[in-house]
Symmetry: C2
Subunit: 411 residues, 2 copies
C-alpha cells in the first residue's frame, strides 16, 4: 500500500493552482476610518492638491525673502510687523514691502510673502517692528501647493493593503467615506476524522483528540484579512464530507478541509474534491516538509484546500497556500505573509528536492537578525509555541549552515 | 521667543515616563477562538499531558519492536495480523508476541506494542500475516504520552501575546473557554487646533486643513490591540481641552492629544496636562526628528501623551511611545512594534544627539533586506505612503553609510 504522490515544488504548486482560480471577492464601500488592512478595489487619484494653500512649516514671520537678503546679527533687516495670520483663517492681507506678518506653523502664507523667517532668527525691535538676523531664501520654510500630492496624482494603486498612514493620506484629501475595497473573503473550515472531538467537549476518551485545526486556521484567516467560519466536525464517512462541502461552496469564497491524518482519510478528501466539481484536484502532494500530503483543488473557480491533519503541517501549509489565496481573492498585490532574511544559529539539515520549514525563534544580535531553529517532531504543536517564524530551507539545498542567511516566514 | 525644551533621548524618555504609569487594564475571560492578539493575564499550565495516550506517527503496524530485530528484504520477520486500531477508539487488545496490529497515523498504540512499522516497510504475506522488511527500534514512529507537553508544565507565560499556534496549543489541552486575558486598553484621542476641520466636512476653506491624526493614531491603536475613540475637535481655547480631558480620564486607559502645530498650541497642551492632575508632565521634548515637541505625562497613574500636530511626527512618535504604552497597559512582555535589521541603499545624514526616523521602502536583494530611505520634508504624509517602515538613526550617529546595517521599525 505505498503512497504515490506526484509531488510538486511549493512555488510551482501555487502557480499551477492559482492559474485556475477565477473567483474574486466583491467590492464594498467603507469609511476610511474602518479601512485598516482592507485592500483597495481600484486605483485612487487625488481629488485636490495637498496642501491646498501655501503653509508655513515653522513659527515666525511671513516675509518677502528679498527684504532679508544679507541680514545678519551685525546688520539686521528691519521689517514692520503688519499683522498676524490666525490659524484656520484665510490670510487675505498682503505682506507689504519691508513688512512682516506673524505666522504659526501650518498657517496660510499671506499674498506677497514667499518665505518664513523662523522666530528664533528674529528679535523684537520696538512695538511695531522686528530685526531679522538671518536671510531666508524664496520658498524657505514654506510648503507649496501640491507639494505633498498634486491634484489628479495617483495616491494608492488597486490591490493595495491599507496601512495607518494610508488612512491619513485619504483623510487629508477628504476621502473619508465610500472607499472602494474588496470584501473580506469568507473561508469555510471543515475538520474531518473519527478521532476528533470538539475542544470544549467535556471529556476526552482514550483514542480521541481535540480538533485544533479549525482554531489555528481560523486565526490565520483573520490575520490575513478574511472571515472564517468553523463547521461541525465531519466523520470519515465519504458522503458526509461531500454533503457539507456542497452546501458551503455557493455561499463562501474558499473551502478548507483538514483531513484525518491517515492515508485513507486523505485519499477520501481528494476523491471528494473531485466529486464536488471541475476541475477538481490540481495538486496532490507538495515537495515540502512538513506538509507533503497537501491537496490543492479548484471548483467553480473557487480555491479548495485539503490540509494534512497534523496541526503543525496544517498551519504551515495554510501559511503557504491559504494566506496567499486570501490575498489573491482580494486582488492584493503584496505577499500576505511577511518574510525576512535572518542568519542561522545552527546547522539545519534537509534533503534536496523538498522545501523544509523549521520553526525558529528570532533574536537580534549585533544589529543582525538570527534564527534559532526549534527542532522536534513535526507533529508537536509546542514546537511552534514561542517560535517567531518558519525558516525556509530551499528546494535544492541539502541543508543550511550555521551563520548562513536564510529566509524566515514570520508568524 | 526661542523654544527651550529639556529634550530627552527617546529610550530615556520612555523609561522615565513609564516608571510612573501604575495603571493596568483589567482581566476578562474570552474563548480561545477569540484570543488572537490578546495578552495573557496570568501564566498558564497544562491541565493534562499531550498527547494523552501513545500515538502512531505513521500508517503501519503496531508491533513489539524486538520481534522485528534483524528483519530485512532477504530475511523478513513474519508477524500475525491480530486486528486493527480504529481511529478515535481505545486500543484495548494487546499485541501478542509475533503479532502485529494495523494502525493509522494518530491512532492509539495498543498495549504490548512499543513501535510502529511503516506500511511501506511491510508486505502482505497471506490472509493472516505480513512480512516486515526493516526493523523498528522501541519507540520508533510513536509519540509518547506527554511528549508534546507534560501535565503541569508551563504553556504560556503571563504577558504573552497570543498567536495562531498558541490558540492551537490551548485547544489541544481543552482550554477552549474562559481564557484570562487583559482587557484591550481604551485610548481617547483628541485633536486640537483652530485650523482643523473634520475630514468629512463638506468644504475646506482657505487656511483650514482636515484632521488626520485621529484617524492614523486610531489605526495604530487598533493594530497594537487597543480600542480608540475619536472625540470632537477641540479648539485652541485653554479650558475646552481641559474640560474634554477631565471628562475622559476616569473612563479610559490613556489620553492622546495631538496639539495644534504652533509653539503656543503645544505649550497649551503641556499646561493643560499639568492642570489635569499629578504628577503631570514628565517629559517635554524628545531628542528625535521628527517629533521633538512630544509631551509625556502621567495623571492618576494613567499615561497621557501630547503629540506634535504634524501628522508624520505624530505617527512616528505614537509608534515609539503610544504603541509601547498600549503593550505596557496590558502587561505584554513583547515589543509591540516589530523591528528588523536592514542594510541601507543610500547614505542617511543625521546629527549626533538625536534619533532620526526616516521612512524607508523595504526590498529583498540576494537574501538580504535593504532599506531605501524616502527623503522629503518631514510633514509630508505621502513620504510614509508606500514606506514599509522607519529607519532609525541612533542617537550618537552623525548618519549611516550606504551598505551599513540599520534598524527598521516596521509599519
Amino acid at each position: 500500500m505505498p503512497e504515490f504522490f506526484e509531488v510538486k515544488p511549493p512555488d510551482e504548486a501555487l502557480a499551477l493552482w492559482w492559474e485556475r482560480v477565477t473567483h474574486r471577492t466583491g467590492v464594498e464601500r467603507v469609511s476610511a476610518y474602518e479601512a485598516l488592512g482592507r485592500v483597495t478595489a481600484e486605483a485612487l487619484h487625488s481629488p485636490e492638491a495637498l496642501p491646498a494653500f501655501r503653509r508655513a512649516t515653522v513659527d515666525g514671520f511671513a516675509v518677502r525673502a528679498a527684504d532679508t537678503f544679507g541680514a545678519s546679527d551685525a546688520l539686521p533687516a528691519y521689517l514692520t510687523v503688519a499683522g498676524e495670520v490666525l490659524m484656520g483663517r484665510e490670510a487675505r492681507d498682503a505682506v507689504p514691502p519691508t513688512g512682516a506678518v506673524l505666522i504659526h506653523t501650518g498657517g496660510m502664507l499671506p499674498p506677497g510673502a514667499d518665505g518664513v523667517v523662523m522666530v528664533e532668527h528674529t528679535q523684537r525691535f520696538d512695538e511695531r517692528s522686528i530685526e531679522v538676523l538671518r536671510p531666508v531664501a524664496p520658498g524657505e520654510n514654506v510648503l507649496e501647493v501640491g507639494e505633498d500630492v498634486m491634484q489628479g496624482a495617483p495616491i494608492l494603486p488597486a490591490g493595495h493593503t491599507i496601512q495607518p498612514q494610508d488612512i491619513g493620506a485619504l483623510l487629508a484629501l477628504g476621502l473619508a467615506a465610500d472607499l472602494p475595497v474588496r470584501e473580506r473573503p469568507l473561508v469555510s473550515l471543515f475538520s474531518t476524522g473519527d478521532e476528533l472531538i470538539p475542544p470544549d467537549a467535556p471529556a476526552l476518551r482514550p483514542g480521541q483528540i481535540r480538533d485544533i485545526n479549525s482554531g489555528t486556521i481560523q486565526a490565520l484567516c483573520r490575520r490575513a484579512g478574511a472571515e472564517a467560519q468553523r463547521n461541525p466536525l465531519v466523520s470519515d464517512a465519504p458522503d458526509a464530507l461531500l454533503a457539507a462541502l456542497e452546501a458551503a461552496l455557493p455561499v463562501v469564497d474558499m473551502l478548507v478541509v483538514t483531513a484525518g491524518s491517515s492515508v485513507s482519510a486523505r485519499d477520501l478528501t481528494a476523491e471528494t474534491f473531485n466529486r464536488l466539481g471541475a476541475p477538481g484536484v490540481l495538486v496532490h502532494g507538495v515537495a515540502a516538509r512538513p506538509g507533503k500530503p497537501t491537496i490543492l483543488a479548484v471548483v467553480e473557480g473557487k480555491p479548495v484546500i485539503g490540509l494534512p491533519g497534523n496541526p503543525v503541517s496544517a498551519m504551515i501549509m495554510f501559511m503557504l497556500f491559504g494566506v496567499a489565496a486570501i490575498a489573491g481573492l482580494m486582488g492584493a498585490d503584496a505577499p500576505a505573509q511577511r518574510r525576512v532574511p535572518a542568519r542561522l544559529s545552527a546547522n539545519v539539515p534537509s534533503a534536496a528536492g523538498r522545501e523544509d520549514y523549521v520553526p525558529a525563534r528570532l533574536v537580534e544580535r549585533d544589529g543582525e537578525l538570527w534564527a534559532e531553529p526549534v527542532f522536534g517532531k513535526s507533529n508537536l504543536i509546542f514546537t511552534l509555541v514561542g517560535a517567531g517564524g518558519l525558516l525556509r530551507v530551499p528546494l535544492n539545498a541539502t541543508g543550511l549552515r550555521q551563520g548562513a542567511w536564510g529566509e524566515v516566514v514570520l508568524f
